[in-house]
Symmetry: C2
Subunit: 316 residues, 2 copies
């Protein structure tokens, strides 16, 4: 455990505190990177940025096959990294997937993804969390509105809002199959939530969120300020980068079209985790890496994608 | 009770029967009407047609105020026509609304709406069902995929697929607030469902559908044949006309934006109800009118919209 800083984002203090302005910058000075200045400005203003065709078709196909393999892998059937739907046995998420799959590890460390994170966060970065999200046809449940940072701050001890997520689509994100919704500009306001984090909250919250859910009045105010809600659509290989405090959620998927995404959270190496700010204990390492290890680009696979199985040390 | 015709659309016979081709025409010969030939062809091909700005702003505002009045009317608080959300007390639907509200009655009988029905169904028409549907912000639940005709045939004794619905938007239908989804071309296939209709099924089915839900394989086949799913968006005053056998549904509404629609089902006077084809008893008249009364256009209100309360005879 580490020395605790002042809590600049109090949340889960019983009653819900009033929303407050964000304390941290959204974009940090950097020598440059894959994004052009207009893209950086849009990200700073909206709290997210769409990147069409970020990853090529061949790589997307290989990643899709890798996800299918992981979902069916008997070695992973009972792994803690594997989260199932609340009302069925279908795999909803696989956490720490960059430690489980060398192919995903290569993607996560690639300049295509990590370079964007370094550019926006203005420092070296490490992987706070990675996962595959699967929203199956007919069966995919909704994700309630939330700010990731609210949870990472309360439960993981992330001190500053200096992290971002990149969600890469492996299947089409249509308007009708439960695609990601974001409230533009919401990243500038921190919305504390009420209640208190129960012990081992992650065991249920990864299936269905109950604590850490913002109140309707605050959500309505954010949407009114934005004037609209953005629904992220795009083909396989497209991606969305979004700030850790951007308010987001997604509807259920009633269509036959599955939605599979690889989701990576990059945190600045200058923002290491401390003790949780509002939880009895930190969450396990497969959900929130507590060991800062700056990413170094891995050699791109020169042959066909790795098909072997290699499970990394997810508990350090 | 009337003499029973041969059942050309068997459904709810215990096991689910295989999908079969529709027996009835979609569009009937008529002397004309509000739609142009291209619109009629599109309706025949897709099973639905969008009509932008069908009703003017002033009328939409008056209808919106009327719905607010009905939702709050103490006389209606315990009325059987009023259906509430499964997990809250919020009003989800008000049935037989054209009998409850003179303003809605005028709309329903207007050539703008009834004229479209007469043109497509090739005969005089009457109102099989009318209702207000409210999908509230944050709280609106999904409607599972279904064909209305499957229910009207099984539970109401509608012999032929010679009816259609017009849904008029009173609030914006966005891509993200649970708007209507339709499977193009699905109206040409009748998908029988399994199980059997329990007694008084309507008391629960109007809140959440359990019997009459098509199987996933049939839905997937319809979507594959269509190549896509249509999501109906449009501003207040826009409408969608859809065939009684078009497969449709809608996602929940997680956004703060409510969705309110007036929904009218027109049936051909040449297609009167018989005994239910697969239910112990017919549903009550506020859900399915058993008395054929051809619509005659009412005098449009010349002054401000009626504000009085007049409850019609909903039980005949």
């Amino acid at each position: 455990m580490t020395a605790q800083a002042v809590d600049r984002y109090p949340t889960r203090q019983g009653v819900a505190l009033a929303p407050r302005a964000r304390h941290d910058p959204v974009v940090y000075p950097s020598p440059g990177g894959p994004l052009d200045p207009a893209q950086v400005r849009r990200y700073a203003a909206d709290g997210f940025l769409l990147l069409d065709q970020l990853v090529d078709e061949t790589t997307v196909a290989a990643l899709g096959a890798e996800v299918d393999r992981l979902v069916g892998a008997p070695e992973l059937a009972d792994a803690e990294e594997v989260v199932r739907e609340p009302d069925s046995d279908e795999v909803r998420s696989i956490f720490a997937v960059h430690r489980i799959s060398p192919l995903v590890a290569t993607l996560v460390a690639s300049d295509t993804l990590a370079g964007v994170a370094r550019q926006l966060l203005g420092s070296d970065v490490y992987v706070h969390q990675s996962r595959v999200n699967r929203k199956l046809g007919f069966a995919g449940r909704e994700f309630a509105w939330h700010s990731d940072f609210e949870t990472w701050h309360a439960e993981d001890g992330m001190p500053a809002a200096r992290a971002l997520s990149i969600s890469l689509a492996l299947t089409p994100n249509f308007v009708h199959n439960g695609s990601l919704m974001l409230i533009p500009g919401s990243h500038r306001t921190f919305v504390p939530t009420g209640g208190a984090t129960p012990a081992d909250h992650y065991r249920t919250s990864l299936r269905r969120q109950q604590v850490g859910v913002p109140d309707r009045a605050s959500l309505t105010a954010l949407v009114e300020q934005a004037g609209d809600i953005a629904l992220v659509t795009g083909g396989p290989g497209s991606a969305v980068v979004f700030d850790c405090n951007a308010m987001h959620g997604s509807s259920g998927n009633m269509t036959p079209f599955p939605r599979t995404n690889i989701f990576v959270v990059y945190n600045s190496v200058e923002n290491p985790l401390q003790d949780p700010f509002a939880a009895p204990e930190p969450r396990p390492a497969f959900v929130a890496t507590r060991h800062v290890e700056p990413l170094v680009a891995r050699q791109e696979a020169s042959g066909p994608p790795a098909t072997g199985f290699e499970r990394g040390d997810v508990s350090r």
